[in-house]
């Protein structure tokens, strides 16, 4: 066991865990932030997506010892203009069904719009195909990203 101080959502969280513990479990069982989900543990499904220094990362496959002083943003702390537009569009279109993957979807979609304010369908495919939704809400995810992009224009 070792103590790590993680910078999450602008605050500092001390977690006492094995250095190989994936960031996901340090966030959940260590810092007590439960919005980031476990879906596969092998970077296949994207339910655990968080932003590490602004980049979308699969927290299930990133050892806590490798995080260092990086700034971590989880669904609880994502506050950018793009994030707000994404979440608003998600609710307006009633995207979620079971909802379990949607924290990860929102984090990935937010990153996409932060980098690319006007994504095409192909851009969406590339940015979002690491996020599995077993309910297959993909039609509405795509539409909501386009709506969010539109709302950010001007």
């Amino acid at each position: 066991m070792a103590a790590f101080v993680l910078k999450i959502n602008g605050g500092e969280h001390r977690v006492d865990v094995d250095p190989q513990t994936p960031l996901l479990w340090a966030i959940r069982d260590g810092a007590g932030l439960m919005g980031t989900k476990y879906g596969c543990g092998v970077a296949q499904c994207g339910a655990c997506t968080v932003h590490v220094d602004g980049q979308p990362m699969r927290s299930c496959s990133l050892p806590v010892s490798a995080v260092g002083t990086s700034e971590i943003t989880t669904i609880e702390g994502v506050k950018s203009r793009e994030a707000k537009a994404v979440q608003k569009a998600w609710v307006a279109l009633d995207v979620p069904q079971c909802g379990y993957c949607q924290s990860g979807q929102v984090m990935s979609a937010t990153s996409l719009l932060e980098l690319n304010p006007k994504p095409t369908d192909e851009d969406i495919d590339l940015a979002m195909n690491g996020n599995i939704c077993r309910c297959a809400t993909y039609v509405r995810i795509r539409a909501a990203i386009h709506d969010a992009a539109k709302s950010l224009e001007g």
């Binding site: 865990v17 479990w25 998600w90 609710v91 979620p96 509405r140």
Partner: protein, 730 residues
């Protein structure tokens, strides 16, 4: 009028809570309006409170929020919104004041009226609640109006209710919250007047009802079982045998126990449980266990061996399910074209995004449990039995489930039993969260059954003269409490449903089945038997119609003389897709299929092209007739999701086994549909005045055969063995 109300109040006061409970228990309806909202504000009613809050379906708080306690689990299919819509319609509430939460476990108050116990499945939530929840809303409305009439000293009949506001022509007006306490003193009307459907403002209307759970499922605050955390809680992860039916021979836990964070290791009936402070140490501990398994009773066959055995059986006649006319005589007649097809369907995992899990706190005399259970009553009973406490001392609070597709409805109550055993092995006093990893979930069995259909058809004079279907498959229900309900003449009807009653007029018909025993646990999987029978029937009829020189839509319609609702959705989807006139791009083709399941009729048209990686489905048109459409947008969402779910599985999904060991363990080997593979979808909801039926499952069955039939238009053989893209799994 006033006097009558006062009399009513007096009568109501004479009724004790207990007698109300008794009276209410036999009725399908009941309303409890909280006096001050405190009971609810402290959290959902615990089991103990159920005794004093009879027939709880509705809580109206002073802030005017109306919370519907939903007796069905919200796992994405929309019952929170659906139940609230039914109540709000009759209550004349404003949609913005509506809320929903899960009802506590209570088989008397919250039973599924189709099952007799509390449970969700078979796309039955709206179907069984449609009248019940409307009556709840209507009764509450009458009680609130009566309370306002008494307060304002006016006749109740002069009070109108609109958007949550009660008004009297004298200018008096008020909202529900202010009258909830007084209304609560009144007796619950036994037979409240329901609206005529022409008066509906919410049911079936577009754009007025939004899902109640979208915001919390978008900002990360929605609580799932995995998110439960309590002081001193332990997380348990279990090592289960690598083959179904194997058991623990011996184990060495010394390395596991030496790991930091690991608290204890215990043998349980399903394997060896590691208890730790948090998931990661529990998983590391589990991985450090050294276990010798006793495989003497294990299922050691692989899926290739099963296929050989099933295939052999399918060439012999099974037990008759349905026989009409004389298929053999038709086959023997000269001049007919005999077409045969063998269809092979693999085991499929449900793989909900949230792997299985459950929380329990055994306090000795009582048990508190929380998780996403589709069958609270059987689960509650299993926990009570194993821990030796009366059932009414077991509180099972249902919470959001991160998907299910049937996986959390367990006829064997295996997760509830394992949860109780994990608590029992540890002893009372410790809150425990049982967590299955993705690999545990994928390799843990309870799959859609592996099955083979051997079909034979005779086409002569441009007409289908004969049809036979021999099915080889496992029973889902055998040995379960549902056996009596689902078995007919010794056969599990969920294994052949859809194959025995085809919607087409064929004079000579035979459906028979070999029900085989395999040691792999199987379970209903979104649309159950229709997952394979829908494919077999719809791909085969398309092939026969092609041989008869018929158009897939017109040819089907000609044979649907007794099936107006099948024909209705088929016509609707043909019109939506412009089936007759559409000009397709080079390399593209269309296919169609129509399947009834759970009383709902769905037709789909797909347009696809072939790529090196397999079929690329560009667009799907879908028509659905589910009777009265309560929430059109949720119906659309369920069709979209059902299409995506079905498509991913028929293209890619397979759970092969070698020597009884499940090969895929995660999404790298069990390929799931991704956004770049999702077609555009257009849905039309057919207008109907029939009673409402479900939509959670019926979107799934038609997509597979529609894809197969489109591939045939591209000159390919309709895929005989699923998945269509072999090797995507494993």
């Amino acid at each position: 009028m006033n006097i009558q109300i006062k009399n009513s109040v007096t009568r109501a006061s004479a009724l004790s809570r207990r007698s109300l409970l008794k009276a209410g228990a036999g009725l399908a309806i009941g309303v409890y309006i909280a006096k001050n909202g405190k009971a609810y504000a402290q959290g959902a009613p615990a089991a103990a409170q159920v005794n004093i809050t009879p027939n709880t379906f509705l809580i109206i708080k002073p802030d005017n929020t109306v919370t519907v306690l939903c007796k069905h689990i919200e796992m994405g299919q929309g019952p929170f919104t659906g139940m609230a819509t039914l109540v709000a319609e009759e209550l004349d509430a404003d949609w913005a004041q509506m809320r929903a939460d899960h009802a506590p476990s209570n088989p008397v108050l919250y039973k599924n009226l189709l099952f007799g116990v509390q449970g969700t499945g078979g796309s039955s939530a709206i179907a069984n609640s449609y009248e019940q929840m409307r009556k709840v809303g209507a009764a509450a409305r009458e009680m609130l109006v009566a309370a306002a009439a008494a307060e304002w000293n006016v006749p109740a009949a002069e009070i109108t209710v609109e958007n949550g506001v009660m008004k009297h022509p004298s200018g008096k007006e008020g909202r529900f919250g202010a009258f909830a306490e007084k209304a609560n003193q009144l007796p619950v009307p036994a037979d409240p007047k329901l609206k005529d459907p022409s008066q509906f403002k919410l049911i079936g209307k577009e754009g007025v009802v939004k899902r109640l759970d979208s915001a919390e499922k978008t900002n990360g605050t929605a609580e799932y079982t995995l998110d439960i955390s309590e002081p001193d809680m332990l997380t348990a992860v279990i090592a289960r045998p690598p083959q179904f039916g194997a058991t623990v021979a011996s184990f060495d836990a010394s390395a596991a126990k030496a790991l930091p964070g690991v608290v204890d290791v215990k043998q349980v009936p399903t394997g060896v449980a590691v208890y730790a402070k948090g998931f990661w140490p529990a998983k590391m501990g589990r991985d450090a266990l050294k276990i010798t398994w006793d495989d003497s009773k294990a299922e050691k066959r692989g899926t290739q061996q099963l296929l050989n055995e099933f295939r052999g059986l399918s060439k012999t006649a099974g037990k008759a399910v349905k026989t009409e006319g004389d298929v053999e005589a038709e086959v023997a007649k000269p001049g007919g074209r005999i077409i045969e097809a063998e269809f092979v369907f693999p085991y499929l995992a449900h793989a909900p995004m949230e792997p299985l899990n459950a929380f329990i706190h055994w306090q000795g005399d009582t048990v508190t449990s929380r998780y996403g259970s589709q069958f609270p009553t059987p689960d509650q009973a299993a926990i009570a039995k194993i821990l030796g406490v009366p059932m009414d001392k077991v509180s099972l609070k249902t919470i959001f489930a991160g998907g299910s597709f049937g996986r959390r409805a367990q006829q064997t109550v295996h997760v509830a039993a394992e949860l109780a055993e994990v608590a029992k092995a540890m002893g009372p006093g410790k809150p425990i969260k049982l967590v299955w990893t993705r690999e545990d979930d994928m390799r843990g069995g309870y799959y859609r059954p592996f099955s083979v259909h051997r079909m034979r058809g005779v086409v002569r004079d441009g007409k289908i003269q004969a049809w036979s279907d021999t099915i080889v498959g496992q029973s889902i229900m055998k040995g379960s409490p549902f056996e009596a309900m689902t078995f007919k003449d010794g056969l599990d009807s969920t294994a052949y449903e859809g194959s025995n009653e085809i919607p087409y007029d064929v004079a000579n018909f035979k459906c028979d089945m070999h029900q085989v025993e395999v040691g792999v646990p199987v379970l209903w999987w979104r649309s159950v038997g229709h997952t394979h029978t829908g494919y077999a029937v719809e791909a085969f009829v398309d092939e026969l119609l092609e041989a008869a020189g018929k158009d897939p839509v017109e040819g089907r319609l000609e044979l649907m003389s007794k099936k107006p609702r099948h024909a209705g959705v088929l016509r609707a989807v043909a019109e939506l897709a412009d089936w007759k006139n559409a000009k397709l791009e080079e390399g593209r083709a269309r296919g169609v299929a129509v399947v009834e399941s759970f009383g709902t009729f769905v037709a789909q048209v797909v347009e696809l092209s072939m790529t090196k990686e397999g079929p690329k489905v560009h667009k799907v048109w879908c028509a659905v007739d589910c009777g009265i459409a309560v929430n059109p947008d949720i119906i659309r969402a369920q069709m979209e999701g059902g299409i995506g779910f079905g498509l991913g599985h028929i293209l890619y999904a397979d759970v092969p086994m070698e020597d009884g060991r499940v090969v895929p363990g995660n999404f790298d080997a069990y390929r799931s549909l991704r956004i770049n593979e999702m077609p555009a979808i257009e849905v039309t909801v057919v207008k109907s005045t029939e009673k409402p039926s479900g939509v959670g499952e019926p979107g799934v069955p038609p997509i597979g055969p529609a894809v197969a039939n489109a591939l045939a238009k591209l000159g390919q053989v309709r895929p005989r063995q699923l998945p269509i893209v072999p090797g995507a799994s494993a």
